[in-house]
């Protein structure tokens, strides 16, 4: 089952490359360290998911790189070719000369339609080379012009072309203190459009990942490549082969589909956030050891208290009591408590069968309309991932993204009230009505999540 990756814009291409590095390194290590049948199956499955073998025997990535200006793509292709482990397929990229200028309207209304045919053709070629398509993973940022604007347009085209395939969007949200001045406009427009088109949106925020780098990994001068490595680690831990049935015999044949069916069960709730544990610099890793109970306890509290990393968790927050039988009334829940719609726990490493995730089945964690047995799933794999002897990742469809989303919409509305920068969007075809529609759609999402 193969996943075709679509990297859009500078962020998408940079993160996409790190993801492929993580996945390929992990697969090679698994084969090296576990020489038995287990290792071989894992290696074959992992590589088949993201790479294909060319006639020369080299590994080519099942990826399409798209950007409106050539610098990033050239750098990515050159670095991959130098690494000797894998490379990008010949001709699997599309670039133009001039960027989108951080303008969502330019990406969506001008570059999208203009280059639709060429891009869709590249994706079709990659899809046809897969024996079985598990899904399409698009990677982009929401703040810029190409990734967000053109990315949304391409997702729309792919949705029309492959109505029965899964489209998983990986989104990178920018720093809340500003990377691009019109980032809030671009984010609002992207999210409102993608909500109708995508099956699930996995979100990473630059702020959160930056904190992980600073506090857990102890990196003094954090660069974008450090941030991209963390994002790739978390994404890789989700997409690498894992067993869904609990029998430890077979790796999932439908990873993206299983992910969607566990988490994105309602059309109104598609925002998925990720927490992973542990994160440690490689120098400290040699001196640390982990136990499953410890890891799972931290992860559960991270979920409840809405903390994204294992430092600074508020242990005071606890699950509110559940009323038996009667419908849950709108009692004033603790503000910091994070209600989930659905959770997916992925465990990788030694002795994974001893790990007890029963604490996650507490009904107080979830909304009232799904029983906990349906809302919580576990996947596991005996292979250690990316150098960590034991690691756990939790993907949750919960209120954790509510606050950042609310802030983003608030700031965008504030700017819209003064009509600042609107002339830049109207000149390419996005009118004020389109903005108002996007705001309405996102307010609806916010209110749905608040009432979970």
């Amino acid at each position: 089952m193969s996943v075709v990756t679509l990297n859009l814009g500078q962020c998408g291409n940079q993160v996409g490359q790190e993801l492929l590095n993580v996945v390929s390194n992990d697969a090679f290590n698994a084969q090296k360290n576990c020489p038995g049948v287990q290792g071989k199956t894992y290696y074959a499955c992992a590589l088949d998911r993201f790479f294909r073998e060319e006639q020369t025997g080299e590994l080519a990535a099942r990826a399409v790189l798209i950007d409106m200006e050539p610098k990033v793509i050239n750098h990515a292709i050159a670095t991959a070719a130098k690494s000797d482990m894998w490379k990008y397929g010949d001709g699997s990229y599309f670039c133009e000369k001039q960027g989108s200028g951080n303008n969502w309207a330019k990406g969506f209304c001008v570059h999208g339609p203009q280059h639709e045919e060429a891009v869709v053709e590249l994706v079709r070629r990659e899809v046809e080379r897969c024996d079985r398509l598990a899904g399409i993973l698009t990677m982009m940022s929401v703040a810029g012009g190409t990734g967000s604007g053109m990315g949304t347009y391409i997702t729309q085209c792919l949705r029309d072309m492959y109505p029965h395939s899964f489209i998983l969007n990986h989104l990178t949200w920018p720093y809340s203190t500003g990377e691009v001045i019109v980032q809030n406009y671009n984010s609002v427009l992207t999210l409102s459009h993608l909500y109708q088109l995508s099956d699930g949106m996995l979100v990473h925020e630059n702020d959160t990942v930056h904190k992980i780098c600073a506090q857990l990994m102890n990196i003094k001068h954090i660069s974008f490549s450090d941030i991209n490595k963390i994002i790739a680690h978390q994404l890789g831990s989700v997409l690498q082969p894992a067993d869904v049935g609990g029998t430890q015999s077979d790796y999932s044949r439908n990873p993206v589909g299983d992910l969607m069916s566990s988490l994105a069960c309602h059309a109104e709730y598609k925002l998925l956030s990720m927490s992973a544990i542990p994160h440690m610099s490689s120098s400290s890793l040699a001196y640390s050891s982990f136990t499953w109970p410890g890891l799972l306890k931290h992860l559960r509290q991270m979920l409840i208290a809405n903390a994204r990393m294992e430092e600074g968790i508020d242990w005071q927050v606890c699950v509110p009591p559940v009323r038996q039988g009667a419908e849950r009334t709108r009692e004033i829940k603790q503000l910091q408590f994070n209600t989930s719609l659905a959770n997916l726990l992925i465990l990788r490493g030694k002795d994974v069968s001893c790990a007890d995730s029963g604490a996650f089945l507490h009904p107080g964690l979830y909304s009232s309309w799904l029983p906990p047995e349906a809302a919580f799933r576990t996947w596991s794999s005996l292979m250690p991932f990316n150098g960590y002897e034991k690691s756990a990742t939790l993907i949750s469809n919960s209120q954790s993204l509510l606050q950042p989303l609310n802030k983003m919409v608030g700031k965008a509305w504030n700017m819209f009230a003064s009509r600042a920068y609107i002339h830049q969007y109207t000149r390419f075809g996005i009118s004020e009505e389109d903005f108002l529609d996007s705001f309405t759609a996102l307010e609806q999402v916010i209110s749905s999540y608040t009432c979970l």
């Binding site: 200006e69 610098k71 200028g101 303008n103 500003g178 001045i181």
Partner: protein, 443 residues
């Protein structure tokens, strides 16, 4: 890779342009030591049009070391000059050499794979620069409406030696406000102060304070042109401004910024496109064991009034937007830390509290390990424009040399006054006139 065309008009424009080419050559030679012709180099060469109504300056360029860079197909010259009269430049020479100019620009545009931006360099006080320069701006808008027009204007200072400079400036400003996408005003007085500051530092000779000679923002050492001429130091600063602005389009980085992103992020309303710029560091100390505090100092300096290229104090006025173009070995964590540190002291407009646009380019300028260009859309340009208006009114009241430009004056004056109101914090509503009315029912 996108290309830009530099259009240099008038004596000032051509002198600044000449320094720009010299420094650009120096920078690319420094980066590309093997001398292999790479894509970044092909970006700029042969993409220049030199316009002047008298031959002296252009001939000097053509006889100097840069003669191989330009050729006759890029020049538009005439003999007698504009006599410091905007009307002569705009109304007489404009239409007369219109065809020539359009043809040369078209030819330069055809050499480009993908033309993104015109850089117009001129002065506001003279006759050719302001008059013909603003006419050329109109031509560029008519012929190439999709291409961005970034204008670097050298404004006259109060002690300018041209008497009619206020008239010329105000008349040209009208064209700039309507037809340019971005204007980077620069002021001779500020440039002089910066030059003096650097010269003072370099002559101090204090131990531990020795400056690396070729690293200052005013030095042209290492370039093709030999001896330094009088205005060279000041022109180098403006040339460095343009180099830093285009650095992200020419070199790699972890967070690229194209020129169209400048127009997109820094211009919230179409007419409010005057950007105050500042360059840091002005020099690098020769002592290599500099502590990392220097990096933070660079960010602090970018917002101080001494480093601005126009007489303005942005810290005490309202910011509408701000862009930071960082070059060299600076990581995103340093950038974020400094933004967090400086944010509380900088007043931003209420609807754009986090109005920062950032860009990281990995190649530093020659002689430095890192540098920062800060572009701010700030209401501190208001005093500068008010002062210009006062000088204009002083002349106009006495009807000095009015007959040749009567009908233009009043209209231009009104436009000027409205721009000044626009950038004032308390009179934001006056710009309602310039934006379609239905948009403002929520204010």
């Amino acid at each position: 890779m996108t290309q830009s065309i530099i259009v240099q008009v008038g004596q000032c424009g051509n002198q600044v342009g000449c320094r720009f080419w010299d420094l650009a050559l120096r920078e690319h030679a420094h980066v590309n030591k093997k001398g292999i012709y790479d894509e970044a180099l092909s970006n700029f060469f042969r993409n220049a049009v030199l316009i002047d109504m008298e031959e002296g300056v252009v001939n000097e360029i053509l006889q100097g070391p840069l003669r191989d860079v330009f050729d006759n197909t890029q020049l538009v010259t005439d003999v007698s000059g504009s006599g410091n009269n905007w009307a002569v430049g705009h109304r007489i020479y404009g239409p007369a050499c219109q065809e020539q100019v359009v043809e040369k620009v078209r030819r330069a545009a055809e050499h480009c794979d993908s033309l993104q931006c015109f850089f117009l360099i001129h002065s506001m006080g003279g006759g050719t620069g302001s008059g013909l320069g603003s006419y050329v701006l109109r031509l560029l808008e008519d012929e190439f409406p999709e291409v961005y027009r970034i204008v670097t204007s050298v404004y006259p200072s109060a002690e300018d030696d041209v008497i009619t400079s206020p008239y010329n400036s105000v008349l040209a400003m009208r064209e700039l406000s309507e037809r340019a996408d971005c204007v980077l005003p620069v002021d001779n007085q500020s440039l002089v102060e910066i030059v003096n500051k650097i010269r003072y530092m370099s002559h101090q000779g204090k131990p531990g304070h020795v400056i690396k000679k070729d690293s200052t923002v005013i030095s042209g050492q290492g370039g093709a042109c030999g001896a330094e001429k009088p205005f060279d130091a000041m022109n180098n600063i403006v040339a460095n401004l343009l180099l830093n602005l285009t650095s992200s389009a020419r070199f790699d980085g972890s967070l690229n910024m194209d020129l169209n992103e400048i127009a997109m992020n820094l211009v919230p309303f179409p007419r409010l496109h005057y950007l105050v710029s500042s360059l840091t560091p002005l020099y690098t100390l020769a002592d290599v064991s500099v502590p990392p505090r220097r990096l933070d100092q660079m960010f602090t300096d970018a917002f101080s009034r001494d480093h601005q290229l126009i007489r303005a104090d942005p810290k005490h006025s309202l910011y509408l937007a701000c862009a930071l173009v960082v070059r060299g070995n600076v990581q995103v964590s340093d950038l974020r830390r400094n933004i967090e540190r400086l944010k509380p002291s900088l007043p931003f407009v209420s609807w754009n509290q986090e109005g920062w646009k950032t860009s990281l380019c990995s190649v530093p300028p020659v002689g430095h390990t890192h540098s920062l260009l800060a572009l701010a859309n700030n209401t501190c340009v208001k005093p500068t424009f008010l002062e210009l208006k006062d000088r204009f009114m002083k002349l106009y009241r006495k009807k000095v040399k009015a007959p040749e430009r009567c009908e233009k004056n009043i209209f231009a004056y009104e436009i000027n006054l409205n721009i000044v109101s626009e950038t004032s914090q308390n009179k934001i509503k006056t710009y309602i006139k310039y934006v379609p009315a239905p948009c403002f029912n929520t204010i």
